[in-house]
């Protein structure tokens, strides 16, 4: 996983690239800490650069969502494409997250 956190005016955006898989768990946990430390009501995750995500990757998004909710915050998923988009659809993640195509 490659990532970058961009602090926009309204919300921080986590930009993910390459892959999000089982081996990224620990790193993703620290990324969650960093994101939530900003204490914004909405956090965005930009998936446009993500080519592949496995089931553990979905689990990491769920962990982010859960921890954000405990702070009263929401998570938005932006621009999923290809296999990642298909995986989110298969798991009906649109009922758990706001997913924006653009």
């Amino acid at each position: 996983m490659k990532y970058e956190i961009i602090d926009g005016a309204e919300m921080p955006t986590l930009v993910l690239r390459d892959q999000l898989t089982f081996s990224d768990r620990e790193q993703f946990d620290t990324v969650i800490d960093k994101l939530l430390a900003r204490k914004k009501p909405v956090t965005a995750v930009d998936l446009a650069g993500l080519d592949y995500m496995d089931s553990a990757g979905l689990g990491m998004l769920l962990t982010l969502r859960d921890r954000a909710e405990r702070q009263g915050a929401q998570v938005k998923l932006l621009r999923p494409k290809g296999e990642v988009s298909e995986l989110l659809a298969l798991a009906c993640f649109d009922s758990l997250f706001t997913i924006s195509p653009a």
Partner: protein, 580 residues
Amino acid sequence: MSGDGGERSGATRALVVDDERMNREVIVANLRVAGYETVTAEDGQQAWEILDADPGGFDVILLDRRMPRMDGMALMAKLKGDDRLRDIPVIMQTAYAAPQDVIDGLEAGVYYYLAKPLDRRLLLSVVAAAVEDRLRYRRLQIDLDKRSTALTLMTGGTFQFRTLAEANTLTVSLARACPRSKFLVVGLSEIFTNAIEHGNLGITFQEKTELIAANRWMQEIENRLDLPENRAKTVTVRFERIGDEVRFTVKDDGQGFDWQSYGDIDPTRAFSAHGRGIAMAKRLCFDAVEYRDPGNEVLCVVRGEGVQTPPGAATEAPGEPAAPAAPPGPVADPDDLRLARVMQSELLPREEQIARANQMTGLTISGFHEFSSDLGGDLWGIEPLDDHRLVVWLADFSGHGVTAALNTFRLHALISNIDAGRDQPADFLAELNRRLAGALPVGQYATMLYGVIDRNEGVFTYAAAAAPPPVVIESKTGNAHVGDGSGLPLGVTKLGVYRERKLALVPGAVLFMASDALAENPRENGANLGAVGVAEMVRCGVLARGTEADVQSLLAPFLASAKRPLRDDLTAVCCVWPVP
């Protein structure tokens, strides 16, 4: 546990099978000094000839794994297929660095291991433990055959015992009151003995090893029972028959023990003299074994045919079973994985279960499972509902390692405990989801496909939780129908709702489902199959073989080209509706 019944008199006799002369001589020399009689064989073939000619002649077999002509595993297969030889304990010699040997061995029914290079003391204590265990089981079996009991009519009761003799009496009586009593007697004996020796008397694992090797185990138990501080200690057993379950709750007066490393996955266990008791009890006898902290209470559950509730007894549903908790955490070491893998394989349908389902429903079912390098969390199952309907399901936990494997135990326990709606896939998944959502840590979930094949209606009715879609191929036409696997993963939110979907089935149809490793695992050429590729591969396989297709033949192109080790567990199930 059948055997020829009688106990051999005279010295204990060991068959030592090893192709290396030096190894044989070292073992023989050590065993002879300790008073054993020995016979040697140079390979599995020679060992087989010796055993076949004198099936009652041996108390224990020491087996090397790798040998010319017939190797250790091939000999195991022959032994387990022979009623005369099946229950002779086998001790396998293997290198520490070969966990796969232990996995294969446990699956073949080898419960005792010796590491190479050989440690003399360990050799003697493992041999003594194996022989002692067998004698004890045999005595219990003989008692079992003699006893008849009114306890089969009992719905509940509480018992107390203090000594090994009392424990044995109770073991036999209670086992008689249950189905599969021949196996149960072994498991109860292990659990009751543990409660006395480890629980009440505080004999440690290490002490037991030494006591057995010195042939002083029984005496030491007698001595300790007599100590003033132990005289009042008892073991209490509560017996309950609830619905199709029998529950034994066994509580001792001790301090408890570190049960987590005994029942499940203690990396040191496979190579020590004993301590397999609990794991073995679980494997052989119980549908669930659950320790309560601090470890001085254990609940053992037996389910299934023959566990009848007498008329008028309460049939209220049992509460949520607590399968082993799955702590989130780092990937476990290879030893943990090894034993978790063995236990996970035990949850998969056995051949006889598949054969029974085939016979009952007129379908032909085949399943496939290959572990990934670090264990995924796959599981599948079948359950005939009547002569024309079969439940088939496939689940896959997120993540890898011991956590995922332990989650499969949890799922397995939950599935067997949900009574309602087994023929209503959407309701069943919703209920399973509700229970899992309370039990799984955040970020862990399962994907699942659960459906009912109905031959009378000609339909596969299913519900899905983020699973790869089921595929139906008509063997006559090659027409493929790909279902829809979308749905919320199980365990994410209690509010999950699942949709019922249908795929039409006709005679000659082949239903195929697989975990996501099939679509996603890279092949040697770097590309993965994808959902479309999976459906096409299955279609080609069915066109080539018609209703002779089975899961192996359908997967063959993938198995031949997949990059190893697999990135995730691969599980696949194929159900063929034969043309009349």
